[in-house]
């Protein structure tokens, strides 16, 4: 039986392991045929910013191609690609505005807490991963 998973995340990219944990949960849920709805709150709206670019690692002597640094923006794009319409991603509009984070990649849409309250009252499972 498939169902929906709601996820509220708050951490900005490149600051903690919680984002990776969230991505792994989303990937695993999608792989099992479930639908996933993500509410990106506060710094998490920066996960999808279109301008994110991979970088080399001068300490290791690796260039951009060798380092293959996975940006959070790219990982979100990949999750949308494998989801086949089963991933919904809402960036909190007020959080976006105060961070100047409005230029995001294809897939997410702007929203607000009303989106999240609608999700959590329809009987689907909800996980909140707060920032520290």
């Amino acid at each position: 039986m498939t169902s929906s998973l709601n996820l509220l995340i708050m951490d900005p990219p490149y600051e903690s392991e919680r984002t990776t944990t969230a991505f792994r949960l989303i990937d695993a849920a999608l792989a099992r045929g479930h639908s996933v709805r993500v509410f990106a709150y506060e710094g998490a709206v920066n996960l999808t910013m279109a301008g994110q670019a991979a970088h080399p690692n001068p300490l290791h002597g690796t260039d951009v191609d060798a380092e293959m640094h996975p940006t959070t923006r790219e990982w979100v794009e990949r999750l949308f690609a494998v989801a086949g319409g089963r991933l919904e991603w809402v960036n909190c509009g007020l959080c976006v505005d105060e961070r100047g984070a409005g230029d995001w990649t294809n897939g997410p849409r702007r929203g607000g807490p009303a989106d999240f309250t609608g999700w959590v009252t329809d009987g689907s499972a909800t996980i909140v991963i707060p920032t520290a």
């Binding site: 490149y14 903690s16 990937d27 300490l59 293959m68 996975p70 990949r78 690609a81 494998v82």
Partner: protein
């Protein structure tokens, strides 16, 4: 040359996304211009343990090509002449003793952190 004690108190902070620990990376990048020493405290003591390659992470078909291998990073620092120590009591809280750690890492009792700080010109606490 100015000496710097880098104190790292949190391990595995965004290391998967960064493919590195940014504090260790910063210390390594500065090691040519400054006399850098590294003190691992808290969960960062785990960086001195283990030598296996990290597990390969792949999300939605996109692998992380260069996963962080922190014990190897610490070993590289030691090979470059950086003194790397860990706090004994913090290691004990993780069930680790001196035999758990790689070559070249020195145990430091918590009460002697102040001595280390006093022995350096600058202290950077991450």
């Amino acid at each position: 040359m100015t000496s710097v004690l880098t104190i790292l108190s949190t391990g595995h902070r965004a290391t998967v996304e960064e493919q590195d620990d940014t504090a260790v990376w910063f210390a390594a990048m500065c090691a040519g211009d400054l006399e850098i020493d590294l003190l691992l405290t808290g969960s960062a003591v785990l960086y001195g343990v283990g030598s296996d390659a990290p597990p390969r992470l792949e999300l939605a078909g996109r692998p992380a090509a260069c996963p962080p291998h922190m014990s190897a990073e610490v070993a590289r620092l030691i090979a470059r002449g950086v003194d790397v120590a860990y706090v004994e009591e913090d290691a004990s809280e993780y069930g680790l003793d001196s035999a758990s750690f790689g070559a070249g890492l020195e145990p430091v009792p918590r009460r002697e952190i102040a001595v280390l700080v006093d022995a350096h010109d600058l202290t950077w606490r991450f």
